[in-house]
């Protein structure tokens, strides 16, 4: 993923970025790690090799390497936008055949609004601050923008990789079209009417979900899964929100360091006594330590907040799977009842029988694959948490040690001087 080709906002904006490759590769590994169990086999490998941010959309370059016969070439790339990812995801959801699988959650919409607004405000306020302050803040905001950008790229990539790793979904025709068709898919975003339809569909679904979940499951495994997922999902939601707030506070504190550093610098350059050297050194310290604190916040965001957010979405997808299964169970039971009734009245028995058989097959098919999916989900989840928690701890340690080193060096200099 070429970050330098990334947000093309104007050459001037990109000057200040100093975190390029290191940040990138960590983050890369970080998010891929969410799906650590994916067998990256030669049969099908998908990644996002490039991305371009324009006024209000992001263009992803989806790059595929495959030895499967379905594709015309072994290696090819297309350009896709967010709406096309959503279209692909929705096509999975609506496909009855995939009812028994956990559909990989759709990537969230790229949201640069907040960041753009801040950059704009900075531009407007340029006259009111010193040159150093302006440069500093610009760097900061650019880094922020870049971080959001990388995150959204990674999330889209994760979605594709999950699909590519899934033994059934990877064979989906729409998926292949998505990967290969090098024209625009002409997928437009949903218009108002469709959005409204969606809204009603969701409402019906949740109402139905409530009814359906009232049906007790004979199968212990699924009963347990249902209770578990419900509680887990809620708690992950809560944890994700709180983690977000925590990382944001961290970032605010880091921003304060920035301003403190600037003020100290001003004090240092203006002071007449011999304390000016002192101030300048401390100002430098604050600048450096701020960078580390900002990284701490970013890493926590990545390893903790993003992890939790992802599993929030995945656990929702798992819940959806359970819902579909319960739905099919209810249908099956209804079909049984209908069959009994038909037999009793001796009317349309054949029809009832076929319908009942279909329901039975559907239910059993879903149950079987669902079981495996849920077991896989747990394995993936445990692995992902493990990886991220370990990396989180390692990064926290790295940063704390870095900070400590900075502080101790600074103190040594300051004490030596005085």
């Amino acid at each position: 993923m070429r970050a330098c080709a990334g947000p093309r906002l104007g050459a001037a904006m990109m000057e200040g970025l100093d975190d390029g490759p290191d940040f990138l590769s960590e983050e890369d590994r970080g998010l891929k790690a969410i799906n650590v169990d994916l067998q990256s086999d030669a049969a099908l490998q998908v990644d996002i090799s490039d991305a371009l941010s324009e006024r209000d959309k992001v263009k992803f370059t989806v790059h595929t390497k495959s030895s499967l016969p379905n594709f015309k070439q072994n290696e090819f790339s297309v350009v896709r936008q967010h709406e096309e990812f959503i279209w692909l995801h929705d096509s999975f959801v609506e496909n009855e055949d995939y009812a028994g699988y956990i559909i990989p959650p759709a990537p969230p919409r790229p949201d640069f609004d907040a960041s753009r607004e801040k950059l704009q405000k900075l531009g407007e306020g340029e006259g009111s601050m010193t040159k150093e302050e302006f440069t500093k803040m610009k760097q900061e905001l650019e880094a922020e923008y870049l971080a959001i950008f990388k995150k959204t790229v990674a999330m889209h990539e994760v979605f594709l990789c999950r699909v590519a790793a899934h033994p059934i979904l990877r064979r989906d025709l729409n998926f292949h079209v998505f990967l290969e068709y090098n024209q625009d898919l002409s997928v437009r975003g949903k218009n108002k009417k469709e959005k409204l339809e969606d809204f009603f569909k969701n409402m019906v679904k949740s109402a139905d979900g409530v009814i359906v979940s009232g049906v007790k499951d004979v199968d212990d495994f699924f009963e347990h899964e249902r209770t578990f997922l419900l509680e887990y999902h809620n708690r992950v939601k809560d944890a994700s929100a709180k983690s977000d707030r925590m990382t944001r506070s961290h970032k605010s504190a880091a921003d304060d360091y920035n301003r403190i550093g600037s003020s100290l610098y001003a004090l240092g350059t203006q002071d007449s006594t011999d304390i000016c050297k002192f101030f300048l050194k401390v100002s430098e310290l604050f600048d450096k330590t701020r960078k580390i604190e900002a990284r701490v916040s970013a890493d926590e965001d990545l390893k903790l907040s993003d992890l939790l957010k992802y599993y929030l979405r995945e656990s929702q997808a798992a819940k959806d799977l359970l819902y579909r299964r319960s739905r099919s169970l209810v249908d099956y039971e209804n079909a049984n009842k209908a069959l009994d009734k038909a037999r009793a009245k001796n009317k349309d028995v054949l029809q009832a029988e076929t319908s009942q058989q279909l329901c039975c097959q559907k239910f059993e098919k879903i149950s079987e694959s669902a079981k495996q999916e849920l077991i896989d989900f747990k394995t993936r989840r445990v692995a992902a948490f493990r990886k991220n928690l370990v990396e989180l701890a390692e990064l926290e340690l790295k940063h704390a040690k870095g900070n400590l080193q900075l502080l101790q060096n600074c103190l040594a200099v300051l004490n030596g001087d005085t």
Binding site: A239, K242, T273, F385, V390
Partner: protein, 522 residues
């Protein structure tokens, strides 16, 4: 002046004790020992003060690390618990290399429970410093403010603070004593000192500010953390105020100060109330002063003063800006602490519902780590505030006092100018009289005017002397102030950085403990 001497034995054999008590004698035998006092200055002290101008470095290194002080305070407040290993408190970094004259007991905050007071390493460094600056003035007095106690009920309630003085200066009758004082007593002291010394050019440290909201909460009896914080903030501020005041060699000699520190009963200072007659008079005077400042156009013959004034103006602005940022940091740090605590709880819940045992355990561990970290943030926020933020706000007020002193000089000049103008007018009147030939009344009038002229000539001379005196005093004071300032900032900022070091070290400990837990997820 003073050679390094062995520190006197103090019961618990604490290392960092720089009360070179014998130096007290030097105070009296020092060569140039007269108080720099102009005739118009009040009450020349009975004791000779050190002559500040004799030494190139004003402030005194032996101003002591307040280990002892803190120990006593802790004993008094019974908060010492040395057995919680995790809370290696930020305090242990406090006995910092240079002396810390003004921020002794910064972290007696409600939540902090353990303190450890050993700092052997620091001892060595400080000793060297003492030797280096041994020719500086040596102050041998330590003030502690502690034990805030609510007295009375309802709206008439007030907080009484114990003021403990430890000294070997012989002007005090005992070497260690304490009294109970309330906030208005401190204000009263300041008002007295200000009225005596400000107008002759001494920079009198300003007293802590009143806070109607804060005090009302305390009076009403709200026993929440914000009122305890308020009391702690005030206690620390009062302590710093007294420390600064006694460090001033001239003010130290003042009998009012001595009375404040020593006598068990103090006449109630009612003039300090905001809405009293005196309070209103003060406000009116302040307004009048502000107007006057705008109208006095002084012919500055001395570029030094103009330069200095500008410098202080700049410094003021910069400090204010920095202060705002630091306050924001304190706020965000507190927020971070609260959010971390919330997250910790949430993570614990998540761990509970996770059905994979190893992961569940790891999540619980994570929750514990985050909880400890939230405590850490809380403590750091206190350090941010009590060390950094309060230092800045103290200096912002001090600079206001400095500016006040410069203004007084202007007024002094104005007075001299006015006297000169009046003298001129009188001479003109006399001359006119000489010319006009009215023999009968003339002799009497001539005498009168002769007298007046003599009177005004004396006033002009006095005015000139006063002006020169105040200018001289200000120069000295500013020199002393600048030295103080440099020292103060360096000391406190270094201490603050050390608190940051502590925090990072703790963080490392916590995450190192967590890492194997995370790796153990199977």
């Amino acid at each position: 002046m003073a050679a390094e001497r062995e520190p006197p034995p103090l019961g618990d054999g604490k290392p960092t004790d720089f009360e070179d008590l014998e130096d007290g004698e030097d105070l009296f035998t020092s060569t140039v020992s007269t108080l720099e006092s102009s005739p118009s200055s009040p009450e020349p002290a009975s004791l000779p003060a050190e002559d500040i101008s004799a030494n190139s470095n004003g402030p005194k290194p032996t101003e002591v690390v307040l280990d002892d002080d803190r120990e006593d305070l802790f004993a008094a407040t019974e908060e010492v618990s040395l057995d919680s290993p995790e809370r290696e408190p930020i305090l242990s970094s406090e006995p910092s290399p240079a002396v810390t004259p003004v921020t002794p007991t910064t972290l007696i905050a409600p939540r902090i429970e353990s303190k450890s007071m050993s700092a052997p390493v620091i001892f060595d460094r400080s000793r060297e410093e003492i030797e280096e600056e041994a020719n500086g003035d040596i102050f041998d007095i330590e003030i502690g403010v502690s034990d805030p106690e609510k007295v009375g009920d309802g709206m008439n309630a007030y907080m009484a603070y114990r003021v403990t003085t430890k000294t070997s200066l012989s002007m005090f009758s005992k070497s260690e004593f304490s009294v109970k004082r309330r906030f208005s007593d401190f204000l009263g002291l300041h008002s007295k000192l200000a009225s005596k010394y400000l107008h002759v050019g001494y920079i009198v440290p300003p007293a802590p500010e009143k806070s109607i909201v804060g005090m009302t909460k305390v009076k009403v009896g709200k026993e929440d953390s914000s009122s305890t914080e308020f009391v702690e903030k005030r206690r620390a501020a009062l302590e710093r105020y007294l420390q600064r005041t006694v460090k001033h060699p001239t003010l130290l000699q003042d009998p009012d100060l001595r009375q404040f520190l020593e006598s068990s009963e103090l006449p109630r200072a009612v003039n300090t109330q905001a809405l009293s007659g005196a309070g209103i008079l003060r406000m009116v005077n302040k307004a009048a002063d502000a107007v006057n400042k705008m109208t006095i156009k002084m012919n500055e013959s001395d570029a030094w003063f103009e330069e200095k004034q500008q410098q202080f103006e700049n410094l003021d602005q910069q400090l204010r800006k920095l202060h705002v940022s630091v306050e924001a940091l304190v706020c965000h740090r507190k927020e971070l602490s609260a959010n971390t605590a919330a997250f910790a709880k949430s993570a614990a819940m998540l761990g509970n519902s996770e059905d994979h045992t190893a992961l569940s355990r790891a999540l619980s561990q994570l929750a514990e780590v985050e909880e400890k970290i939230d405590q850490l943030h809380q403590e750091q926020a206190f350090a941010d505030f009590y060390m950094f933020s309060e230092l800045l706000s103290d200096y912002i007020r001090l600079i206001a006092a400095v500016k006040g002193v410069f203004d007084h000089r202007m007024k002094c000049w104005q007075k001299w100018e006015d006297a000169q103008i009046t003298l001129l007018k009188k001479r003109e009147a006399e001359a006119k009289m000489m010319v006009a030939n009215k023999p009968d009344k003339i002799q009497q009038a001539k005498n009168e005017i002769r007298e007046e002229i003599e009177e005004w000539e004396a006033k002009v001379q006095q005015g000139e002397r006063d002006f020169e005196q105040i200018s001289k005093t200000i120069r000295k004071e500013v020199g002393r102030f600048e030295k103080e300032r440099v020292k103060d900032f360096k000391t406190v900022i270094i201490k603050y950085l050390e608190s940051l070091v502590q925090t990072q070290q703790q963080l490392i400990k916590y995450w190192e403990a967590f890492l194997p837990e995370a790796k153990a997820i199977a």
